[in-house]
């Protein structure tokens, strides 16, 4: 007894002394001090600078390709927080979580601060003189390389950076500017172009009374999530629009839907044709399609479609009924419908519904032609990477320059990108932070963060009129040895063609000249300086242009008998890689705010997991946290199981973006990389990687580990019925539809 009292005393003593010391040590200045810290003061500040009061500057978010206008709050010369810029139609004064995390790109402790050069096995810091000399020797005036010997690999790039890059490649007489995005929407864009006449129609979500979305996650990972979320809010105001989502694995948009249906991956087109078949039997739509298509559609009767897609036949009838009751509607295709061998046909079939329902011109419009097409983002594709890979493998490529993409991480294992990259004798990366691809390069040049550099951006998706977004530094550079991408390119161009670029001492001068030259297009009569100052202050140059019309081309749709891939006994599960709104293809895994933000559907943080339907898990006796091996024909990963009801029972899903090995302290050794187990299956029409067509087998390894997540136990609200739920097939859908089909 007495010893326990001593223990308690000991505990209190320890708590009183070391506990307080530990707390104080972790909290910075915790006492009243005199003469310890210095006061920041100014010599000759601008009149508007008031210490302690933030000033807002307009710029453009560079976290994704949406091109949202942002405002940065700057205090005492440091950027503290980003907000949306109300001047920008794209952002409408709002910003997403991914955009908020932009300051962590800037302040990241793993930022590159000096040029790095390969020395033996590793990269060593070098001076700019040495790095510049190496660059000039290879790419300067006397460089003998040209054509296929050089390739510039970038992510989606737009604005004057793209113009300079094109001029740079022109100077080598090369067309090898490879634009690679692992999550490229190229299949959907090709199908849209073939059926609607435009690659990316402008969506009028707020004008629709009913949205039918086949895996389109427009609220999370679409082409412009901030803009579409604002439109979606208006869509939900009275009269409240209805959202129906059909997809193999629930996305953030699916979680917001009124009706969510699981479908077998790759059968979205069959379901769309089944709907089309139901619709054309209605008098109003009977003549919407050419006779040859209408006759083939008859093969897609609801029983056949139901059998192939796994969606109940009555559901199909109900949705068809809702579609003709609620006009105008909007039918959307998303990545999970596009990423299959028949992905192009899936999207074409889904767009056919828009044609039948006459949504064109109402909820779907054409994007006006951009007055500066050279500034528009070059379209990305995965097929372009395959071409580059072949060029490297054959030894033709002598110099590879990389900026804004990380194919060593995102290319599937069957591509052997890292191995083929070794065959290139001179590889240069332009980066703010080392990643897997930069680590394989011979020279790495440190770039300014997007919050330190000037630039322009043009979004691929322009919701209203057209905009050129202006990016300006929100604070002085943190590291003196970092440089703007535009400045490095301009220096190289000057070496190759001194006379053409001598008027521009730096990229800023080039940018200012180029932007002010566009003055007549924006109908401005201001002086050059005033026009430029206005552009910087507003952060955006907006030009009001009417949307264009769409032209229907039904011949793009090749209809045959309904077919579906055969079941595979060796690999029984469909594999759906899910795109997280924050990590995307993994380029943001180095931002701890995003790692710490719980996944919206599972609430899991700092990890990878495999989602499996509870009924499938019960059959296989899998519990949450069981470590499973997920094996495809090309690779295997080991990952924790998470039981998730929002998934088709024959499907398993893993989030993309984790599994880095060389991307800084916050990304390394967190989770696994599902890109590496994707099978070599390609869309038949475009040759793009079919990301959702991989099949896997899952096995228990016998190990179990805790899944770190915010939610409590998943056993349906611990029996308290806090929110009543009903299975979709039990819901009285007939009440929503006055006339039931067939």
């Amino acid at each position: 007894m007495s010893s326990s009292i001593i223990d308690r005393r000991g505990f209190l003593r320890v708590l009183g002394i070391s506990g307080t010391a530990a707390t104080l040590a972790g909290c910075g200045n915790t006492s009243i001090e005199s003469g310890v810290e210095l006061v920041e003061s100014y010599v000759q500040p601008e009149d508007f600078v008031v210490p302690g009061v933030g000033v807002y500057y307009a710029s453009t978010c560079a976290q994704c390709g949406s091109g949202c206008g942002i405002m940065g709050r700057v205090r005492e010369g440091r950027i503290l927080k980003l907000e949306g810029n109300p001047q920008s139609v794209i952002s409408g004064g709002k910003i997403c979580g991914l955009g908020q995390a932009g300051v962590q790109v800037h302040y990241n402790p793993d930022r590159l601060t000096t040029p790095m050069m390969r020395d033996g096995d590793g990269l060593k810091p070098v001076s700019w003189e040495k790095a510049g000399a190496a660059l000039s020797a290879r790419l300067g005036a006397s460089s003998p390389i040209s054509g296929e010997q050089i390739a510039f690999l970038t992510g989606e790039i737009s604005g004057h950076q793209r113009v300079l890059l094109d001029l740079f490649m022109d100077s080598f007489k090369s067309t090898n500017h490879v634009v690679y995005e692992a999550l490229s929407p190229a299949i959907g864009q090709a199908a849209n172009k073939a059926v609607l006449g435009v690659e990316q129609p402008v969506l009028q979500i707020d004008k629709a009374r009913l949205i039918l979305s086949f895996g389109n996650d427009f609220l999370g990972t679409g082409p412009s999530p901030v803009h579409m979320a604002a439109q979606y809010a208006r869509f939900r105001k009275a009269p409240r629009g209805t959202l129906i989502q059909i997809e193999p694995r629930m996305t953030l948009t699916g979680a917001n839907a009124d009706r969510w249906y699981a479908i077998k991956p790759g059968t979205e087109g069959i379901f769309a044709l089944g709907l089309a078949n139901s619709l054309v039997q209605h008098q109003a739509y009977a003549h919407a399609l050419p006779a040859d298509i209408a006759s083939v559609l008859k093969l897609y009767d609801k029983e056949t479609v139901s059998e192939l897609t796994g969606v109940h036949a009555d559901t199909l009838s109900h949705i068809a009924g809702m579609l003709w009751e609620n006009s105008p509607s909007l039918v959307l295709a998303g990545p999970s419908a596009e990423g299959h061998a028949n992905g192009f046909q899936n999207v074409a079939a889904i767009q056919l519904l828009n044609l039948i329902l006459e949504n064109n011109g109402k909820t779907l419009q054409g994007q006006p032609a951009h007055p500066f097409p050279q500034l528009e983002p070059a379209r990305s594709s995965t097929a372009a990477l395959a071409k580059l890979d072949a060029l490297m493998a054959s030894g033709q490529c002598q110099t590879l320059l990389v900026m804004g993409c990380n194919p060593v991480f995102t290319a599937p294992a069957f591509v052997h990108f890292a191995k083929h990259m070794e065959k290139v004798p001179f590889k240069v990366a332009f980066a703010t932070q080392l990643d897997e691809t930069a680590n394989q390069c011979d020279l790495v040049l440190p770039l300014l963060s997007p919050l330190e550099a000037f630039g322009t951006h043009v979004a691929g998706y322009q919701p209203k009129g057209v905009e050129v977004m202006i990016q300006q530094p929100l604070m002085e550079r943190l590291y003196p040895e970092t440089r703007a991408f535009g400045d490095i390119l301009l220096d190289l161009l000057k070496q190759r063609n001194p006379t053409a670029y001598k008027a521009f001492p730096d990229y800023y001068a080039y940018l200012k000249t180029a932007v002010t030259k566009a003055k007549p297009v924006f109908k401005s009569s201001a002086s050059d300086d005033d026009f430029w100052e206005d552009a910087l202050r507003n952060g955006v140059l907006h030009l009001e242009l009417p949307p264009t019309g769409l032209q229907a081309h039904t011949e793009a749709l090749k209809l045959g008998k309904p077919q579906v891939s055969e079941s595979d006994t060796q690999y029984p599960f469909y594999f759906v890689p899910s795109i997280k709104a924050d990590l995307r293809d993994g380029r943001h895994a180095n931002l701890p705010w995003l790692q710490e933000s719980p996944d919206p559907l599972t609430t899991i943080v700092w990890d990878s997991w495999v989602e499996i339907h509870p009924s499938t898990a019960a059959e296989m006796q899998i519990r949450e946290g069981d470590i499973l091996s997920v094996q495809s024909a090309t690779g295997i990963v080991r990952v924790k199981a998470y039981l998730f009801p929002g998934i088709q029972p024959d499907t398993v899903s893993m989030p993309l973006g984790q599994g880095h090995s060389q991307y800084g302290r916050y990304a390394n050794d967190v989770g696994v990389n599902p890109f590496k187990i994707l099978n070599p299956i390609f869309d038949e029409r475009t040759g793009e990687l079919a990301m959702y067509a991989t099949r896997v087998v899952i096995k228990k390894t016998g190990e179990n580990a805790m899944v770190v997540k915010d939610e409590g136990p998943t056993n349906v609200q611990q029996g308290r019925k806090l929110v009543a739920t009903l299975a979709a097939d039990q819901a009285a859908l007939a009440k929503e539809v006055s006339r039931v089909t067939q």
Binding site: M1, L12, N29, I32, S34, G35, V39, S41, V43
Partner: protein
């Protein structure tokens, strides 16, 4: 509960009382505006500054308003150190003191365009947000009290010092003692109110 545990609890309670007394050795009292002993006087250390700035000359002999130099106090959470060009604005024209060592130093900083590395004298813990603007607006502008008195509530009579030295405890008990008093809402009324007593007003 055993007798030994009870004894331990009594000792613990005593320890806590003594502990708080050690942390806060002053008793409350004294009128607002007083720069005399209000029970919270606690002279801070002498802080050696890069230039021994004579507040007594500027604010004392010449009677310059504190906010002529500390111009941010009425606009921002921090009062701020005056910008260097403000010092130079006057001293470029004052020939009589140009040869004094302090002024020579000032010119050296100005020629190098280098900010003077002043040290903080009144540095609150990082978890406290004190707002100068709110206090200056209330007591100087709305209550129309003399500036030396308003600034002096917290900073003491700086006009009698050379470089500033802390004279008050700057403790939470001291803040709260003033927030609990009745203060006139403005000069033309007899209506009074207290300072806020929500935790988050200062601890954000």
């Amino acid at each position: 509960m055993t007798v030994r545990m009870k004894i331990m609890l009594v000792w613990l309670s005593l320890l806590m009382i003594c502990g708080s007394a050690i942390a806060e050795p002053f008793v409350q009292g004294g009128a607002i505006g007083s720069q005399t002993d209000d029970g919270f006087n606690a002279l801070g250390p002498v802080v050696e500054q890069p230039i021994e700035f004579p507040h007594n000359t500027h604010a004392g002999q010449m009677g310059i308003n504190c906010m002529y130099c500390h111009t941010y106090a009425r606009r921002s959470a921090v009062s701020g150190i005056p910008r260097l060009d403000k010092c130079m604005g006057c001293h470029k024209l004052i020939e009589s003191v140009k040869d004094k060592p302090r002024i020579k130093k000032l010119f050296e900083y100005w020629e190098k365009k280098q900010a003077i590395p002043w040290k903080k004298v009144h540095d609150l813990p990082d978890f406290v947000r004190f707002n100068h603007e709110r206090h200056i607006q209330r007591f100087y502008f709305r209550e129309d009290r003399p500036v030396r008195e308003v600034c002096g509530y917290c900073h003491g009579d700086v006009a009698s010092m050379t470089t500033a030295r802390r004279v008050k405890a700057l403790s939470m008990g001291w803040c709260v003692s003033c927030h609990q008093k009745d203060h006139l809402e403005n000069v033309s009324t007899t209506k009074t109110s207290n300072g806020p007593n929500d935790c988050w007003q200062c601890h954000k």
